[in-house]
């Protein structure tokens, strides 16, 4: 998981060979939940200890998603130190954000396992999970209850949330809108009347086997580009730019030092 891949999945700018299971096939009726956790700071989140994603990049990615209507509503939950800084820069509509701590605060972890020697879970995540385990698909609990999860007494940091970009009132937003996968259904009341006698189709006779080319796999790996087998024959171009300038400088210094009239002694 790299920042680039994450942004590519969100914005949909992926190479055409990417399989269906690796794409975000969302449309304007999809509600999306994004949950991010790890180490972070004021305005960034660390990926794999080698990269960072900034709050501006994330906000721009969400805006690109909104432009193509790749979401209906988006719930963004972040559990890192100074998590609230990550949602400060959002500017696209229909985004609701929750964070485990405000700017300047650290998010703490919940309990250590003395046998392994590491901490198992973050506090905010632990209490959110505890809250969500009580929710069943027919539940009517709304977002305001989610905002109350993990007060300062339990979490030590102050969880924050942002709802100004969201068009509906959080009171009316059910938790199951994002978590339960409750679908909109309609009862089918119409039928098409089919006449089985009329549907006597000409049985599909096997078509004459057309001589087709034997099929082969498309190039999966551009091997020739990876292993440079043959240097490409480049057409000769006169040297330009830097090389020309460098040589001009050398020649100028040479003549300045030795003088033009000495040229005939050299050649």
């Amino acid at each position: 998981v790299t920042v680039e891949n994450f942004l590519r999945v969100l914005t949909g700018r992926i190479p055409p060979s990417t399989p269906r299971s690796k794409r975000l096939l969302s449309d304007d009726r999809s509600n999306i939940l994004i949950y991010m956790t790890g180490h972070g700071g004021n305005g960034f989140l660390k990926f794999q200890d080698s990269e960072e994603i900034t709050n501006v990049e994330l906000a721009d990615a969400f805006e690109q998603m909104w432009q193509k209507r790749r979401y209906n509503e988006l719930l963004f939950i972040i559990d890192t130190c100074q998590g609230a800084s990550m949602y400060e820069r959002f500017y696209s509509p229909n985004i609701m954000a929750l964070a485990s701590s405000q700017v300047g605060e650290d998010s703490l972890s919940h309990q250590p396992d003395l046998g392994i020697g590491v901490h198992l879970m973050d506090r905010y995540t632990f209490y959110v999970l505890e809250f969500l385990e009580e929710i069943h698909p027919a539940s009517q609990t709304n977002m305001n209850d989610l905002f109350q999860v993990c007060p300062k007494s339990l979490c030590v940091s102050t969880p924050g949330h942002r709802t100004d970009l969201f068009q509906r009132d959080p009171q009316n937003v059910l938790i199951t809108d994002f978590f339960g996968s409750v679908r909109k259904v309609e009862i089918t009341t119409e039928t098409v009347s089919l006449d089985s006698d009329l549907a006597g189709f000409e049985s599909k006779l096997p078509k004459d086997e057309l001589a087709t080319e034997p099929l082969k796999y498309a190039e999966q790996l551009p091997v020739a580009q990876i292993i440079h087998q043959k240097p490409k024959q480049k057409d000769w171009h006169p040297p330009g730019g830097f090389i020309l300038g460098l040589w001009a400088l050398i020649i100028m210094v040479f003549f300045k030092t030795y003088g033009i009239k000495h040229m005939k002694h050299i050649f």
Partner: protein
């Protein structure tokens, strides 16, 4: 959002049978008339509909065709005599007392592109009927608003305005048979035959709209995620309307779809309940049983419950062999397919009678309706996509646009302009093809992988990186420059000093 002004031209022919010409016609037949009406979607988007109507009397052949007993026969006889191009309408006006239309019916819509209308006594009634008819057979403000749902503020849209399938180049249809109890039921469905007989004609008719691919599968031990309730009165099991929304997700994980295609998938599931939960009926909100025993989910597909008769004697050997009645099943699935595309026949004025399209699944004018909606939607999508791409380029100054992205953009613009021109002249077919090309090009340009901008450098990061690098280098350069300036000044002063 981008602004768009679209003109939709519909060629209409109003043909008067003898005895049906209203007395207060403004001009003698034949004459032409153009009616324009503006459908304003939002501040920057408006659609103008242009009905270019030709009023004339019947030819001898049309007269003979109308002189039959029933409207169906008239429709069949008139079909070869009319303009069959996509998007056009022909309306035959018959005398108010004519018997070709059944009693109580003022408008009969055939399954091609024509309709029979009673004259209605005066011009005003006829005009009202004609207006209602064109709204049913081509497009109405509501169908345009639905097609442009991206641009319409949420408050103005009806609650169900976004449930129809979005315009796409292709769709994948998957038929799945779910058998949770193979020990009791050995279910056999001849799906290949059913698809060839009943589904393929419908898809062939829809092939103008998109490419369709069909596959099927049988899943064993796949249960619905909801436990049905036992109802003592009817001694059957009930799935109530409020438990239906939870049925789809648990089963969806097992459905699978083709890994190679990116088209939206429509799933049609046939569920044969377990012996212990048979018979299983679906109830609607009011507690009444649903005659089709099926429900559908917008943009996803449909599920039908197929009950198997209990074995005659308790000693009957299990598993019972079940041959699924594919006609009954396909009648429901094809109806669901129509509803998913938005072809509903429910909201109509009471004196309208629509001819059933039979095995073709949809009438020609319903196909036209889809094409109008999809063309408008495609053009609006192209406009929004390209505007958004332009805004992105303004915002991120250092994105590199490759040549092929640029050529896709030019092609999208050209195709969109061609589509708009064709729409304004009433050529629906070529407008739709042009709009499809425009959408393909604009999507390719917008979603090109090279446009990902990871080049965000906030100003304070720029300072933090470059200052420690260049400041130490700059110090001796600046000092030497200062020295040169001082020396130059001194030399200027020198000559005056020496003299």
């Amino acid at each position: 959002a981008a602004s768009a002004q679209l003109q939709l031209a519909v060629p209409v022919a109003v043909v008067f049978a003898p005895g049906s010409v209203p007395g207060d016609l403004p001009r003698p037949l034949p004459f032409r008339d153009v009616q324009e009406m503006e459908i304003s979607v939002n501040l920057r988007t408006s659609i103008t509909s242009r009905y270019e109507t030709v009023y004339r009397s019947t030819t001898a052949q049309e007269e003979a065709a109308l002189n039959v007993a029933t409207a169906q026969e008239a429709d069949a006889a008139l079909c070869p005599l009319q303009d069959a191009s996509l998007g056009s309408l022909t309306v035959y006006v018959v005398p108010e007392t004519s018997s070709v239309l059944p009693q109580g019916v003022s408008v009969y819509v055939g399954k091609h592109r024509s309709a029979l209308v009673r004259a209605g006594g005066n011009l005003a009634t006829l005009r009202t009927r004609l207006r209602q008819l064109t709204q049913v057979m081509s497009f109405a403000a509501s169908s345009i608003a639905t097609a442009l749902s991206d641009r319409v503020p949420d408050s103005q849209l009806g609650p169900d305005a976004r449930r129809h399938l979005k315009s796409s180049l292709g769709y994948e249809i998957t038929f799945s048979l779910l058998n949770p109890d193979p020990k009791s039921h050995d279910v056999d469905w001849d799906i290949e035959d059913a698809v060839n007989r009943y589904v393929q004609p419908v898809l062939d008719k829809l092939s103008l709209v998109a490419n369709f691919s069909v596959d099927s599968q049988i899943l064993y031990y796949a249960v619905l995620g909801v436990t049905p309730r036992f109802d003592k009165e009817t001694s059957s099991f009930i799935l109530s309307a409020h438990s239906l929304p939870h049925v789809i997700n648990p089963v969806e994980a097992r459905l699978g779809s083709s890994a190679a295609s990116l088209y939206p998938v429509l799933n049609f599931l046939l569920y044969v309940p377990e012996r212990s939960h048979s018979p299983l009926y679906i109830q609607d909100k009011d507690g009444a049983p649903v005659s089709t025993n099926a429900f559908h989910s917008p943009r996803w597909g449909g599920i039908m419950v197929y009950n198997v008769e209990a074995p005659g004697s308790p000693q009957a050997s299990l598993p019972l062999h079940v041959d699924v009645d594919m006609v009954r099943v396909m009648e429901v699935f094809l109806a669901q397919l129509r509803l998913l595309f938005g072809l509903s026949r429910e909201e109509l004025p009471p004196d309208f009678l629509l001819e059933s399209p039979g095995n073709e699944g949809l009438a020609d004018w319903e196909l036209d309706r889809l094409l109008w909606a999809h063309t408008v939607e495609n053009i609006a999508t192209v406009s929004t996509t390209l505007t958004s791409l332009a805004q992105l380029l303004d915002k991120i100054g250092n994105i590199v646009i490759k040549d092929d992205v640029a050529s896709e953009v030019y092609q999208a613009v050209a195709s969109a302009q061609s589509a708009m021109a064709e729409l304004a002249t009433g050529h629906l077919h070529s407008a739709f093809q042009a709009s499809k090309e425009a959408v393909t090009s604009s999507e390719r340009a917008f979603f090109d992988p090279s446009l990902l901008h990871l080049l965000y450098f906030p100003d304070d990061q720029k300072f933090a990186i470059y200052i420690p690098l260049f400041l130490p280098m700059a110090v001796p350069i600046l000092l030497s420059l200062a020295k040169i300036v001082r020396e130059a000044r001194q030399r200027k002063k020198e000559p005056t000093k020496m003299d």
